[in-house]
């Protein structure tokens, strides 16, 4: 099963956290070597982004930062895993690293499976 992990947080990280990045890189490396992680990416700050919206049947383009946004997407990853249990175990391990290295931080790692592709 293919899963997407989307990490969101109400507050951006205070700054780069080398210890956290190192710990994440270790898992990342392990997961690539285990053949489970197939893609990932971190996103630049929301101020550099844009939103194309539909409201009142009209298109509009809004440049970041988006004042009303409560949660900001920081990054994503795509994994090929056996089942949801495995996906949740992986997310817990990933989030535990955040707790270990940035106890003040709050955020969510959302785990979503792709529509079923019978052989992927």
């Amino acid at each position: 099963m293919r899963f997407m992990y989307i990490v969101t947080s109400p507050k951006p990280m205070a700054g780069p956290n080398p210890a956290l990045f190192e710990a994440i890189n270790k898992i990342r490396d392990r997961e690539i070597k285990a053949g489970r992680m197939i893609d990932d990416g971190g996103l630049t700050p929301v101020a550099t982004g844009a939103q194309v919206r539909i409201a009142d049947k009209k298109l509009s383009v809004i440049d970041g930062p988006f004042v009303e946004a409560k949660e900001v997407i920081g990054g994503y990853a795509i994994f090929e895993l056996r089942d949801k249990e495995e996906a949740v175990a992986m997310a817990k391990e990933f989030m535990q690293l955040h707790l270990d290295h940035m106890p003040e931080w709050e955020g969510t790692c959302e785990v979503r499976s792709f529509f079923n592709n019978p052989c992927a």
Binding site: D29, G35, I78, E86, A89, N117, P118, C119
Partner: protein, 423 residues
């Protein structure tokens, strides 16, 4: 959470951690079968403790500590019997130094260890079936029951296969290391062969009620991705992964809503998985960068790549496909490959030329019971308007097909040919 749910989540953690446990113990004990036994004991311990205590914050560290404790116990027992007291004392000092080092053990680069483990599980001393079972158990973390279900064989058969394979490994006195030089090529071929066997068992299920069994495809893909990460300099590793990714990318289009097979030329290509195609083509680029374009798996991947680059049969580069088949046949004289080449010839030059090739293959002993020979023949005869002969060929193919879904499709084609034939 029900007990079953807790067990599922424990098994999920286990599968994530298992490769590291077994490589870590293999390095300590220099004995892969024993390392496997002891890591299984760590799983049993987790299944006993975690339902009551909850899954620990660092389940990997818990499992590794438990497994290593068992390994130390084992070493100590062995040494008590065999060695003098001072040796034991020395080992205990070493053990005390080694035990707190769990975190760094977790940080080790396991790539080389994993490669060593894969080479051991897929050793040419073992039968292909045994290699497949052992690789799925020791590297993918499948249980005996899961392997049995995947291969449609009994659990007892799998268990026996694994026990025997482990005994063979133990008794052979194999060294636990990565082969080098000429040996490497031979051993790598043995590994790739097993991975492809697992993939094909899932992709074109030869037996059973389902046309394909995705779990085996996924485990093989995982092994393939693992190998490209830990043996990145080997072109055939990338070739095999390219072949598997590109084939698997068609997964969603290969069956209709009822689970019946849809042949390549009839597939809705919008359902092909672009991410997987991209990955497959990227692996193929890597093959060429490493100078491995002529490899057995690379050539097959090239053929599939021709299909993925086309929007349909009409703009498929059939001449290129024929050339790749020629190159493949120059490497391996296989009548199955010759039959596939005939299909491409049929698309490029028409059914007459293809039928000539197929009829030339009828005498091949290897194809005597191969359902796809009469299936291809039936298709060509149908295109030539020889409907009665087509019907007979499809009926023969249906009788030879081991997979129920495939048999039904072939019976359908026989009926189609029958109604097209003049009364």
């Amino acid at each position: 959470m029900s007990t079953a749910e807790i067990h599922r989540s424990i098994l999920a953690v286990w599968r994530i951690e298992q490769p590291r446990l077994i490589t870590s113990l293999s390095r300590m004990l220099r004995d892969v079968p024993l390392a496997e036994d002891l890591t299984q004991e760590a799983l049993v311990a987790a299944l006993e403790h975690w339902p009551a205590t909850g899954v620990p914050e660092r389940p990997g560290a818990w499992l590794l500590a438990t497994a290593r404790r068992r390994a130390f116990d084992h070493l100590r027992r062995g040494k008590m019997l065999a060695r003098k007291h001072e040796a034991i004392a020395r080992d205990l000092v070493w053990e005390q130094q080694a035990m707190p080092d769990l975190e760094s053990a977790l940080d080790d680069d396991i790539g080389d260890e994993l490669l060593r483990l894969i080479f051991t599980a897929c050793h040419p001393l073992l039968s292909r079936d045994a290699r497949a079972a052992l690789a799925l158990k020791m590297i993918c973390g499948l249980t005996t029951e899961e392997i049995a279900r995947a291969f449609l064989i009994s659990e007892a058969t799998v268990a026996q296969r694994i026990v025997r394979a482990k005994r063979t490994l133990s008794e052979s006195g194999l060294t636990y290391e990565t082969p080098r030089g000429d040996e490497l090529a031979k051993r790598l071929a043995s590994v790739l062969d097993v991975v492809y066997l697992v993939f094909n068992e899932g992709y074109t299920a030869a037996r059973g009620d389902e046309w394909h069994r995705p779990q085996l495809c996924n485990e093989a893909l995982r092994l393939g991705r693992m190998l490209t990460a830990i043996a990145p300099q080997e072109p055939e590793v990338h070739g095999l992964l390219a072949l598997m990714e590109l084939n698997a990318s068609r997964g969603a289009a290969r069956t209709d809503a009822q689970g019946n097979p849809v042949l390549l030329m009839d597939q809705n290509r919008a359902l092909w998985d672009r991410l997987q195609i991209t990955r497959g083509l990227r692996s193929l680029v890597r093959v060429h960068e490493l100078g491995g374009g002529g490899g057995f798996y690379a050539l097959q991947a090239e053929i599939v790549a021709c299909h993925t680059r086309a929007s349909g049969p009409d703009d498929t580069d059939w001449q290129a496909i024929i050339r790749f088949y020629d190159a493949l046949l120059a490497r391996v004289a296989s009548p199955v490959i010759a039959l596939n080449r005939a299909v491409a010839v049929g698309m490029a030059e028409g059914p007459v030329a293809a039928l000539e090739i197929v009829d030339g293959l009828k005498a091949e002993p290897a194809l005597e019971h191969y359902h796809l020979l009469p299936a291809v023949r039936g298709d060509l005869l149908f295109k030539l308007g020889r409907h009665r002969e087509a019907r007979a060929a499809f009926e023969l193919a249906a009788n030879l097909a081991g997979n129920m879904r495939e048999r039904e499709v072939l019976k359908g084609r026989a009926a189609e040919a029958d109604s097209a034939a003049p009364a």
